[in-house]
Symmetry: C2
Subunit: 307 residues, 2 copies
């Protein structure tokens, strides 16, 4: 792994499935290359919006290997490796480090609810110790609306003081700007990279001293979000923020993952992209039409996608 601190716009890449629901490595590779060509600094493959938790560890490891074989630079990969099971998280993390990935995005174990910070500390510490590799860079993944199990400031502090350098940053998908700001205020000075969990807070995050965002809508709107990232100190920043926020709001009117895939399916002229794995359900025809009508009314496009 590179010692270079990561920053910019990262996307939790949506995972395409074939009609039999098997992961589709060809569409996946093509989309990853499009994202990198369109402004994404990196790819947080196997995030929440990737339906990663609907896939087995084996399916995930094969997919990331196929990306690397297909020419995606490992230095731009931050695969999600956190699962409920200690042994599985260790296995996925070791695999990512061995491939040379820039970092890993690590959910806490999320089945048991109401667990203590002590228990979560032990979870992360066990994984770090068992992987036992100086190249490991862990980005903690705080997403209480979905995982229900969150990562407190106290837990970050304890992990950071025990594993400085290895515990490299966090994705804050709490949706609570006060939490993101508190993380930046407490830890950014030491080089800890705070990513906001969506572009909604990107300008605030950059102004406060964060390093970027890891955002689902990066799958469809990477260039505009990257322009905001690169231009956060420009006179145009507020307008760019408002514009990307408004585009994101369209997707929030629909089930997010199905909507992202429907959008790619439309602009890539590739209906197969719309397939999701249960328990998710694809958009209805009515939802699909409503989504596309709203996007068209905004002049939204995905130049070059699917090519």
């Amino acid at each position: 792994m590179t010692a270079k601190a990561l920053g910019g716009v990262f996307t939790p890449v949506v995972t395409p499935f074939l009609s039999d629901l098997a992961p589709d490595p060809h569409r996946f590779l093509r989309h990853c290359k499009w994202l990198l060509a369109s402004g994404c600094a990196g790819l947080a493959v196997f995030g929440t919006n990737s339906e990663a938790n609907s896939m087995s560890a084996d399916e995930r490891m094969v997919l990331v290997e196929q990306l690397v074989q297909g020419g995606v630079p490992v230095g731009r990969l931050m695969p999600g490796t956190g699962t409920c099971a200690l042994s599985e998280t260790v296995r996925l993390t070791r695999h990512a480090v061995a491939l040379g990935c820039a970092g890993v995005l690590m959910l806490p174990p999320f089945y048991y609810k109401g667990v203590s910070d002590e228990g979560l500390y032990r979870s992360f510490a066990e994984v770090i110790e068992r992987v036992g590799d100086d190249r490991l860079r862990v980005y903690l993944y705080h997403i209480p609306p979905v995982a229900q199990v969150g990562i407190s400031l106290e837990l970050v502090e304890r992990l950071l003081s025990r594993y400085p350098g290895t515990v490299a940053g966090i994705k804050d998908s709490s949706g609570d700007w006060n939490n993101t700001r508190a993380l930046i205020d407490a830890f950014a000075k030491s080089g800890f990279g705070v990513f906001s969990g969506s572009e909604t807070f990107l300008l605030q995050t950059m102004r406060a001293g964060g390093v970027g965002c890891i955002t689902a809508t990066g799958n469809v709107n990477p260039a505009a979000i990257d322009s905001l990232y690169r231009g956060w100190q420009s006179a145009d920043a507020e307008r760019m923020q408002a514009d990307t926020t408004a585009t994101r709001a369209v997707f929030h009117e629909f089930p997010m993952m199905a909507a992202l895939k429907a959008t790619i399916a439309h602009f890539a002229r590739d209906p197969g992209w719309a397939t999701v794995r249960p328990p998710l359900v694809e958009l209805s025809a009515g939802e699909n039409n409503a989504l596309l009508a709203e996007l068209n009314s905004r002049g939204f496009a995905m130049p070059g996608v699917g090519a």
Copy 2:
């Protein structure tokens, strides 16, 4: 799998771990045999209280094979096979059916929250279709306090009408007696087996037409709970219910899984039993003493455990 309907007291067997946190097949086999000798009708290995979700699919498959090799009758096994990932759930369920297990206890995919009944229907249906074996008996696992994703009556009805015989029953760990009663009222007549999620509701469940309970405290108090099950129509039933409920209440004062393991460790004179996997944490010395003092004051014992 047997076509015989299952009933009685089932236990989600706690999983012992070695000091390096690897599953311990020897203590596991010994405890399973003790449970069967002490009144349990069957073993719901890899339930919530088994820390099943803290283990990989491979670890679970190896453990259940070791039980069978060690002489545990497959007709008394109901392994938990539901995970977040469709492919993993199919793999675990196929494995259980191939071994000849009496049934499987199936969580819904639980990472994504707020999913639709349509999506959950597709999840269960995909698993059943992919396993594609007439011997499969699915016991749905409704535990909204932990999984957050629940199983509605409408979903049960839809699954049952599409897969009669295969969808064989449910464990209701909602803690809501009205829900358990509604399940029994709606589906028990067709042979659908409703297990309450703890012995607290065992007498009510049997009187209403359910088939038993699947209960964590079966790990430590199987004989008394089985006596209640077998004696539910006796004059002594209310007293037996009150007594088992009171014993259970002791465990609810502490983190349940750690308390169960601490109790086994004490009565089996085997301190290693107390080990839990992160994110769980073992009882503190103070908690351990308080638990044992309360159990002793009740005259609680586990005759023959650990022998």
